[in-house]
């Protein structure tokens, strides 16, 4: 069955007017989040992730462009559509004078029904059951973050939007949250995860959009992006001869060398052919290995490319 699209933005743009200048926070953003995916929204601090989430959640008015949630335009149907979503907002806003449990009760009341057993259940999931009665102002940033995640789990949303959900968490907390995200994904929920942590996105997401200076500079399935720059590393006895031999092969995209290795970009299916060509030409092959990009490599490469393009323009 073909997957539907849960979030679709078209030409989404936001600029903020300050007294001194106009700040372009999000620039012509076009993304499509498939139903049931864990979609990573990756970008450095200040790249426009939170502003985009603000627009998706009806908190910030777009300057231009449109947003569709669940196939419907956000403009008119915003509250109705947002009832089908849950979110973890930046800084985990909560009522400081209320206990963790009361905070959850407040937001449950807004939607009508208060299920106390469900409140206990989500407090247990995020590991806050013991401190649920303390005022949330006494919570650490990590505990507030956990409470915010508990709030997101309270309803049964189709879409969960998470803005930097592991901020302030200790390593075990990060692992817990990662597990929760995976579990939600396994339940068929669509997760939109904003983060500046590459390994976080790499580990849990199946789609990713890379954002820089308010623009999407790359997007697609994580696997595809990671393998987009796969290289073959070859150690031979004569690098120059090997380099000359392979230079004219049309299906080899790039050849780079250093003192020890040849680095070749080519379709994986052609890798045995490269080995055969070298051996037939009398070049001794000591080592051949495939090196995959990490998301970090990809991310840094994409940002670098974008800077170069901006410089050339």
């Amino acid at each position: 069955m073909e997957r539907g699209t849960v979030i679709r933005t078209c030409g989404l743009t936001k600029h903020f007017n300050t007294a001194r200048r106009k700040i372009l926070a999000v620039d012509n953003l076009n993304i499509e989040v498939p139903q049931g995916s864990i979609y990573g929204f990756l970008g450095p601090n200040g790249s426009g992730k939170t502003t985009t989430i603000g627009m998706l959640l009806g908190l910030i008015r777009p300057s231009a462009g449109s947003i569709e949630l669940f196939g419907q335009d956000m403009g008119r149907e915003s509250p109705k559509l947002l009832e089908r979503t849950s979110s973890v907002l930046e800084n985990s806003p909560m009522y400081p004078y209320l206990s963790g449990r009361d905070n959850l009760e407040v937001f449950a009341r807004m939607r009508g029904a208060v299920d106390h057993s469900k409140i206990d259940e989500v407090l247990d999931i995020v590991g806050l059951a013991k401190r649920a009665g303390s005022p949330s102002r006494t919570y650490s940033l990590g505990m507030r973050q956990r409470l915010s995640i508990a709030l997101a789990l309270l309803s049964d949303p189709e879409l969960v939007i998470l803005d930097e959900p592991t901020n302030g968490l200790d390593p075990s907390g990060i692992i817990d949250i990662r597990d929760i995200i995976r579990q939600l994904g396994e339940q068929g929920k669509t997760i939109f995860l904003s983060s500046h942590l590459l390994h976080e996105v790499e580990q849990v997401c199946d789609y990713v959009a890379v954002l820089n200076r308010g623009r999407v500079i790359a997007q697609g399935p994580v696997e595809e992006l990671l393998h987009r720059g796969d290289r073959l590393e070859i150690k031979v006895n004569d690098i120059n001869a090997a380099s000359l031999l392979l230079a004219d092969v049309p299906w080899i995209s790039t050849i780079e060398t250093d003192e020890e290795y040849l680095y070749i970009t080519a379709d994986e299916a052609k890798h045995p052919d490269i080995n055969e060509m070298l051996v037939r030409s009398g070049i001794k092959v000591f080592e051949m290995k495939k090196s995959s990009n990490s998301l970090e490599d990809f991310f840094l490469g994409a940002i670098e490319e974008e800077h170069q393009e901006a410089g050339n323009a």
Partner: protein, 306 residues
Amino acid sequence: MLNQLKTEFFKLGKRWLPYVLLVVMLVSVLLPIVINYINYNDILSKHPELNDVEVIINPDGSTEITGLPHPEPGSSFDFESPFLARQLDRYKQSLVLPGAMQSVFNSVPGLGMFLVIVFAASVIGNEYGWGTVRQSIARGKSRLAYFVAKLSTSAIGAAAGVLIAVLAGFIATIITSLLVEGAIVWEGFAGWFFTSLGCSFLVIAVYLTMANFFAVALRSAMAGMAVAAAWFIGESIVLALVSMSTGWLAETSVYFISYNTSQLLSTGFAEGFDGSLWKPVLILLGYIAVFAAGAYRVFRRQDLAA
């Protein structure tokens, strides 16, 4: 909408601020009654002969004292007795219904204006500071429903506070009336009471919507309180200056909030509602509508960024 309203009262019930404001209001209403009663008894215990003295106010405003005991030649009582008799009468008037309720109605909206500014600005303004306004809207609350629930909570909370303070004052003055006079004259009281209560609500509502407007526009409880209080004080100063001028400038004074609130608080409380009070009522209702609609317009278009 009803869910949101219930939620607002759930949150409000867990805050200390409304209780503190209510205690301040109750103290400001009840303390003068207690002090006046103590003073009244103090004078009577020292001068029991003044118990039968009566102060009559003549149509020309002058007062006449009857029942003063014959002074003994050379005694200090000679000089003090008319003064003490008048003072005793003033205390008596402030303790016996219906006059006693006038003091209550003077202090309720008087201090209430400031308290309601603090209350209304906190109800909406703190949500910006805590970031919880974002949490609510992001969870599918319509901005109209959220705004109306917030304003209604402020209005109902403030009205409840006024009502509790007035009722506390009413009960206290029933007790003092019975202690001082032994009986209560109810004639014409109900009409005057409800007119005064209505005037108090109206005066409070103007400052409530004003504080709500500034808290929304400035996204802060403190800023909302500060600007609304500055308006209250600043307008009184400007009104005093405008009133001293002549021509069209002097005529603008009738459109000031404080001019119209004092019309209601002085004329309304002293003489009850008559036709001359319609103009201040309509002007104040106009201010309420402008502040409420303006606040919603700002809120509807506001970016709720972190």
